[in-house]
């Protein structure tokens, strides 16, 4: 019998969920700004947002490790503020994943907001909706496909992410040892049976979730006409 530790699975789900939430919170305003600004900074910000993914995850992880360290650009102030370190913590993982997956969220949202355009927003304003209200009741439901793409890509990428997490997390069981590392370890140590099982489980689980998400979306009104 193969022996499976399900701890990494829950941790992974937690990480992916937390990351997606943070990604949406961070990505939405950036995407919104990109879609509607006429600032000259736009192209620069657009380019910067897409940059993290050009680096190999482990290498990005290496730089994040330095930045998250006690003397790092981010880790230093963070320690001063919170009293605790960023590296090797769940929070650090979430931050790193967010950083790495940001383009997968910002880009689809940017496209979706552009497709919504100003007209429906103007209509909502004249109907007494504030800008925030309009965002939640008009812009985001109309950009639902963009959100769907963002969430799926963000979540799935965090599930499969590996290099960054490995580097920044320190692979501490129960804290930062996520599923992808567990599967990786099995492959590395030639425990193929366990690797196959975990992979199959992950795929099946993801497939069911995706299927549920997509068929829910299909039943939503917003579709091609």
């Amino acid at each position: 019998m193969v022996d499976l530790d399900l701890g990494p699975l829950w941790l992974t789900l937690q990480l992916a969920s937390a990351t997606v939430i943070v990604l949406l919170l961070v990505g939405t305003p950036i995407a919104w700004w990109l879609a509607f600004t006429s600032s000259r900074l736009r192209t620069i910000v657009e380019a910067i947002v897409a940059l993290p993914i050009v680096l190999p995850p482990t290498v990005l992880g290496f730089y994040l490790l330095i930045a998250f360290g006690p003397h790092g650009l981010i880790g230093g102030p963070w320690k001063d503020l919170t009293g605790s370190a960023l590296s090797f913590t769940f929070t650090g993982l979430v931050l790193a994943s967010t950083f790495y997956s940001l383009p997968f969220v910002v880009q689809p949202l940017h496209g979706a907001f552009e497709a919504v355009g100003k007209k429906p927003l103007e209509a909502a304003w004249t109907l007494g909706a504030s800008k925030l209200d309009t965002f939640f009741t008009v812009a985001s439901p109309m950009a639902i496909r963009g959100y769907l793409t963002a969430i799926v890509l963000g979540f799935a990428h965090t599930l499969g992410e590996f290099g960054v997490v490995l580097m920044v997390g320190g692979n501490i069981p129960g804290h930062t040892k996520v599923l992808s590392i567990a599967i990786y370890d099995h492959v590395e140590t030639l425990e193929y049976a366990q690797a196959h099982m975990l992979s199959a489980g992950l795929l099946l689980f993801s497939f069911i979730v995706l299927l549920a998400v997509y068929s829910a979306n299909r039943r939503l009104p917003l579709h091609v006409t």
Partner: protein, 365 residues
Amino acid sequence: MSQLAANFEVTFPTFHLKVSLAVPAEGIIAVFGPSGCGKSTLLRCLAGLERSSSGSMVLNSHIWQDESHGIFVPLSQRSIGYVFQEPRLFPHLNVRANLHYGWKRTSESTRHITLEQVIHVLDIERLLDRLPQSLSGGEQQRVAIGRALLTSPQLLLMDEPLSSLDLQRKREILPFIRRLDSEFHIPIIYVSHDLHEIIELAKTVVLLKEGTVVGSGPIEEVFSQLDLRHLIPENHLGALVDTTVAEQDQKFGLTKLAFSGGHLHVPHQPRQIGERLRVQILAKDVSIISSQPSFQTSVLNLLEATVIEIGKINIEHPFVEIKLDIGCPLLATITRKSLTALQLHPGQRVHAQIKAVALNPETHH
């Protein structure tokens, strides 16, 4: 008296709008002008969707915009209803939710217009559960009107709201729009290309041309201003006459109206005796007869008149406009042939013959 005062200046690469408006904020204010003259842009300015560095917009005591004092009230606090030129329904919401959208965001105390009223007048009951994409053009337009009405706004902007509706529908909806001001005190800025509609509805007109106001004021003044005639198609030229209801003739279904020069018979109007009515008499519906006829005619309204002025005679144009006095001004369009036959001259006493059915009575107060 309530007043709408606004100044805007907007520049597009190939278009410049510079408008200064001061009109009574009462009834329906029609904005009229050729395609591309800036009507929609003006409406956008009024709504606060287009913002210029020197704009101002004051409705009654509400200062909604005064850039010189840094005032710009956000749209959502302006209580302006806007029916856009295209329906702009929310595609993710069904008709009911579209209608509710603005209604929910209107405080209960200011909800004068009810959902039932709107659904009834616009006849959209059977559309309530449908999504906008599956509606026909006219159906979408009606829902868009309803959605804007349900915010019970202090000012309603309507950009060609009835353009894709059939006459029957228009007839059902127009009286309701007309009542918005009298019942709920909602002044309406109304863009339309349909002069019938404008004449039927408007108390005030604003004539736009290439981004500037070339005429504005009470419709009867603007429509009889000589230099603006080229903007008003001939067959809409006419006099507006203020009358009071004098008598109801149940037998023949007629209403007799009294005015400074006598009486007019019009199709039955459901009005109280003594009520005020403004009617329009189109110049093309007035014939001139040299003397009191001795025979019977189907023409009910035969009035004594004095020729005041004979319009410009244009050799390329078969018609001449005659300004008559019947106790109030009256315009008549006759052929040059008739002019010669009748040998008309200012001061001459004639009879003006008006077909009752051509009358187009309208409430304005």
